[in-house]
């Protein structure tokens, strides 16, 4: 082999070696912002309990102030299948609506832009939202088909369009469902913000986000929308091949907080998943607290709440030790 051939080949080998070495390194996970974050875990055995009282207790415990604010409740409304647990339960949304009104919010709306199904109103109907939530039609906005405005500086894109209802909100409450996810590992309050992206511009599914990268998109959405609060419906979640084809899993909890990273990390620990092994959680650690020591646990102690959610084979390595 002469020198002219050796040098590029050696360069390629060195590059491949570096990539291989890098991929074996533990990822650097940010310690997040200064201070600690409050996360409240409230037990709720069923949807028939007084959920408004429980959510009120959780929101107050986290010190959230909403007086005079325009609040957007963002459920996880995915699929026509009322027999299973794909969607955030209507009882949780109705209870959250009651609580934010009671706390003095100037306006409370409900909005969602499902990733695959176009008929958001009938989807909400099937999920019993219309019959459970009084004057639902006046409160609900199909975020896939809302009017939009461009926002600059999203994940390196020149601009990204978002629904005007989302941009007008002072506080977005991510009312997520506690579920496993066949691409991301788990889908909780941060991933739930995918529904803020309008299908009328980005399609069904919102394939643009896949091209940006699912972890990178979750980070960008949570960076763009900082005035958020999470209420995760873990009364009955979904395990196995989530977020659509999994099976119900009773966890009996509502998990709440203003730091969505900390809320999702807590949910993961309840599900028996190591949040530090989920790529998007690693990325989002710059926005909030992933480490258990930096989370002020309120309400129930995590001890005794862990209930391992089944994981598909591709994600078996996520299991918490």
């Amino acid at each position: 082999m002469n020198r002219r051939r050796f040098i590029p080949l050696a360069g390629i080998a060195a590059g491949a070696g570096y990539v291989s070495w890098k991929s074996r390194q533990e990822p650097h996970i940010s310690n997040g912002p200064p201070g600690n974050s409050a996360v409240t875990v409230i037990r709720a055995a069923s949807y028939q309990e007084d959920l408004a009282a429980k959510i009120y207790e959780g929101v107050r415990s986290c010190g959230l102030k909403v007086k005079g604010q325009r609040v957007l409740l963002k459920p996880n409304l995915v699929e026509f299948d009322s027999a299973t647990v794909i969607n955030t339960d209507a009882a949780v949304i109705a209870a959250a609506l009651e609580v934010f009104r009671k706390l003095g919010a100037a306006d409370v709306r409900i909005g969602e832009g499902p990733g695959h199904r176009r008929d958001t109103y009938d989807l909400a109907d099937d999920a019993a939202y219309r019959k459970t939530i009084p004057r639902f039609e006046d409160l609900f906005v199909d975020l896939n088909r809302d009017d939009v405005t461009p926002v600059r500086g999203f994940a390196g894109e020149r601009q990204m369009y978002f629904p005007n209802t989302v941009l007008a909100a002072d506080l977005i409450v991510s009312l997520a469902k506690m579920k496993t996810h066949h691409w991301a590992g788990a889908t909780l309050s941060m991933k739930n913000l995918f529904g803020l992206v309008p299908g009328s511009v980005y399609g069904w599914p919102k394939n643009k986000l896949h091209y940006i990268g699912i972890p990178e998109s979750i980070l960008a959405l949570n960076r763009t929308f900082r005035n958020t609060f999470a209420i995760v419906d873990g009364i009955v979640g979904m395990e196995g091949n989530g977020p659509i084809q999994g099976t119900p899993k009773h966890a009996g909890v509502l998990v709440m907080g203003s730091d969505l990273v900390a809320v999702d990390a807590t949910c993961c620990r309840i599900m028996g998943i190591d949040p530090q092994k989920i790529e998007y959680m690693q990325l989002c650690a710059e926005l909030g607290h992933l480490h258990e020591a930096r989370i002020d646990q309120r309400g129930e102690s995590l001890r005794g709440l862990r209930t391992d959610f089944k994981l598909i084979e591709d994600f078996s390595l996520l299991r918490l030790a």
Partner: protein
């Protein structure tokens, strides 16, 4: 509450569309909202040929034409200055209004130049050597929602219809080749249950069930394939209609079934919301509606 279809159902849908036209000539997704290309296009198709609608159509088409971009694509609404999948609707509407000489020369080349990213040679190579984990066939080129993204059933089906209609204006072997390839992509993505979902029949080796709306759109895109046996997907479409809880999906299925001469269910539910797309699709799928505008057309 659903009831049997009557002529009054068509009239009421068309009256609603006329009443809810925005001052700029377009329609929003919901009455009173900003105008968008998609509801405007379907409203034009639904209203075409109905009494006293010429002026409404003229104003709507004028606005729609203003959304044609310099690159030949069409923007989805006034606020979004980017070419997207709605370019196909621009060609379909232009064809039905006899205006393909306006939309065709720039938009057909834009549609021909737009492909799903999965058909790039690097992706095909990665799939061939099993470096890429994908359950879809990447040997065919379809259309994405937006340039730079992957192909999906809905934009592919609508673009195939648009290109078929463009052949009424001008025959072109490049257009024919992309039509055939688009149809092959649709066929390759059919699920085991006979229908289609958004575009992936399986994910990580798990079968994904079909959706009624995408099954309808796939069938709409496959019209005019001659001897192709589509009895299984048509049966799947009928079955999905029976199970379906979405009024919008039922409206799409009605158009698809009627287009194939299959007796479409003769019942219709009054929309619970002022959803322009739903009103327009229900009008198109009515027995006396313009559902054939979403077919390949025939030379006049």
């Amino acid at each position: 509450m659903a009831h049997s279809v009557t002529e009054a159902d068509l009239d009421s849908r068309l009256d609603f569309l006329k009443r809810t036209q925005n001052a700029d000539g377009g329609w929003g997704y919901f009455a009173g909202k900003q105008s968008w290309m998609e509801p405007t296009a379907y409203a034009i198709l639904a209203l075409k040929g109905s009494p006293h609608s010429d002026e409404a159509i003229r104003r709507a088409w004028k606005l729609a034409q203003s959304w044609q971009m310099p690159d030949g694509g069409w923007q989805p609404g006034s606020q979004v200055r980017e070419s997207t999948w709605v370019a196909a609707l621009g060609v379909i509407v232009a064809s039905c209004l006899g205006c393909l000489d306006v939309a065709g020369p720039k938009t057909v080349p834009w549609l021909l130049s737009t492909k799903g990213q999965e058909s790039r040679w690097a992706v095909r190579l990665a799939s061939y050597v099993h470096l890429l984990k994908t359950d879809v066939n990447v040997t065919h080129s379809g259309w994405p929602w937006r340039p730079g993204n992957s192909s999906w059933i809905e934009p592919t089906a609508l673009t195939v219809v648009a290109l078929k209609r463009s052949l009424l204006w001008k025959s072109d072997h490049h257009v024919n080749a992309r039509i055939r390839d688009g149809e092959e992509l649709i066929l390759s993505r059919r699920g085991r249950d006979g229908g289609w979902n958004s575009g992936n029949p399986s994910v990580l080796k798990y079968d994904v069930p079909s959706y009624p709306e995408t099954t309808a759109l796939a069938l709409i895109g496959l019209q005019g394939r001659g001897n192709e046996n589509l009895s299984e997907p048509l049966s799947a479409a009928e079955k999905l209609y029976g199970q379906c809880k979405s009024s919008l999906a039922k409206a799409w299925l009605t158009i698809a079934l009627r287009s194939y001469g299959v007796a479409a269910p003769e019942s219709v539910k009054v929309p619970g919301t002022p959803d322009i797309l739903l009103y327009a699709l229900q009008a198109l799928g009515h027995p006396s509606g313009n559902y054939r505008f979403l077919g390949p057309g025939s030379p006049s």
